[in-house]
């Protein structure tokens, strides 16, 4: 049984004075994903039946490569922001929550870098 007053328990460590950046970024990255997603779908739609060489040539263009890199980064960022909300909602134990958050962020950082490198290899003609 805790001897702390109910108000002391509620006020806890005080306000983090944060969270608004996360909230705003989640919404902005969603908007960016819609635009980048439309671009990807439109681009793929025009390339039905195109040869491997044609697709590689398309992705080597600076604009296509830039959008592809952005798509990878924004998708990973948005996924991390969204998973953070889910984890904060459902993982109650404090240490566990932080541990899961760190693991998720590391996994997505690795995935994002792999994705970016994959695009860059094609853009720079490393992969044939």
């Amino acid at each position: 049984m805790s001897l702390k007053s109910p108000l002391r328990r509620v006020t806890y460590l005080g306000s983090a004075k944060g969270g608004s950046g996360h909230w705003f970024a989640q919404r902005m990255s969603a908007v960016a994903l819609v635009l980048l997603g439309l671009w990807l779908v439109a681009a793929l739609a025009t390339m039905g039946g195109a040869s491997h060489a044609n697709v590689v040539a398309w992705l080597s263009s600076p604009v296509a490569a830039a959008f592809a890199v952005l798509l990878v980064l924004v998708a990973a960022w948005h996924a991390v922001l969204g998973l953070q909300v889910v984890i904060e909602d459902y993982v109650g134990a404090k240490g566990q929550r932080l541990a899961v958050l760190i693991v998720v962020k590391f996994v997505f950082a690795v995935a994002a870098v792999i994705g970016v490198l994959a695009v860059l290899r094609i853009a720079f003609g490393v992969a044939a």
Partner: protein, 235 residues
């Protein structure tokens, strides 16, 4: 992890039935949740059902409970609105003191934590009250109508999982009521205190609060407005 199962002594078991008196008209079955913290220890006697009630006209907020699966005030919920058996449970996901009486200590402390009173540095005019335009008064008209029955907060999944840190719709609606009060001079401090991943941003606009509110208020919209104000001061 969130608690998805009730503790052992809170699981619902078949209980007592009291048949209607012979010759009764307009017979309806009421299924009422009973919880005796001492059950198993003392002899089962037909003790009185415990619940809070006071005004019987939907203004005190005492008799909030879960009726037919929805949080509402027992005094203004008509039996005729419900088809079949009337199932009555205490407000969800709160510690039960007895039967239909939940422990609202944390809920009231959260309300107190948003400092629900006028904060000013400018002294009031010596000869009259602080003035406010009619339009400005109307902004706080609806949020002021909250009776703190806790129907909204206890209907909110985010509040179920994180009520130790998330303030919940009722406390945030109260905070909003003072944030938009044009006579209040602590708006910035109030927003500072709310800007927190758990206190405010656990709201995911699920809207159960607005649906449950027996006074037809919209705490979800108030929370969205608070988020917009916090975004506004950064851009």
């Amino acid at each position: 992890m969130p608690q998805f199962k009730l503790p052992e002594n809170s699981r619902v078991q078949p209980g007592k039935t009291h048949p209607a008196p012979a010759g009764a008209r307009d017979v309806r079955t009421f299924k009422v949740y009973r919880f005796d913290p001492d059950s198993g220890e003392k002899n089962e006697v037909d003790s009185t059902l415990t619940f809070r009630r006071s005004c019987r006209e939907g203004i005190c907020g005492s008799c909030a409970m879960n009726i037919d699966g929805v949080n509402t005030l027992a005094c203004i919920k008509a039996t005729s609105e419900i088809r079949g058996d009337v199932k009555i449970y205490p407000l969800p996901h709160m510690p039960v003191i007895k039967d239909l009486v939940p422990d609202l200590t944390n809920f009231y402390a959260q309300y107190a934590s948003v400092k629900p009173w006028l904060q000013t540095r400018t002294p009031a005019p010596p000869d009259r009250e602080r003035l406010q335009s009619k339009d400005d008064q109307e902004k706080i008209d609806r949020p002021s109508a909250c009776i703190l029955c806790a129907c909204c907060s206890t209907s909110c999944p985010s509040y179920w999982w994180n009520s130790d840190r998330y303030l919940g719709p009722a406390a945030l609606l109260a905070a909003y009521r003072w944030i938009i009060d044009t006579r209040d001079e602590a708006t910035g401090e109030r927003l500072d205190d709310l800007e927190d991943p758990f206190r405010l941003y656990r709201c995911h606009t699920i809207m159960n609060c607005a649906q449950a509110c027996p006074k037809d208020l919209n705490p979800a919209k108030a929370i969205a407005e608070i988020k917009k104000m916090i975004a506004e001061r950064q851009h």
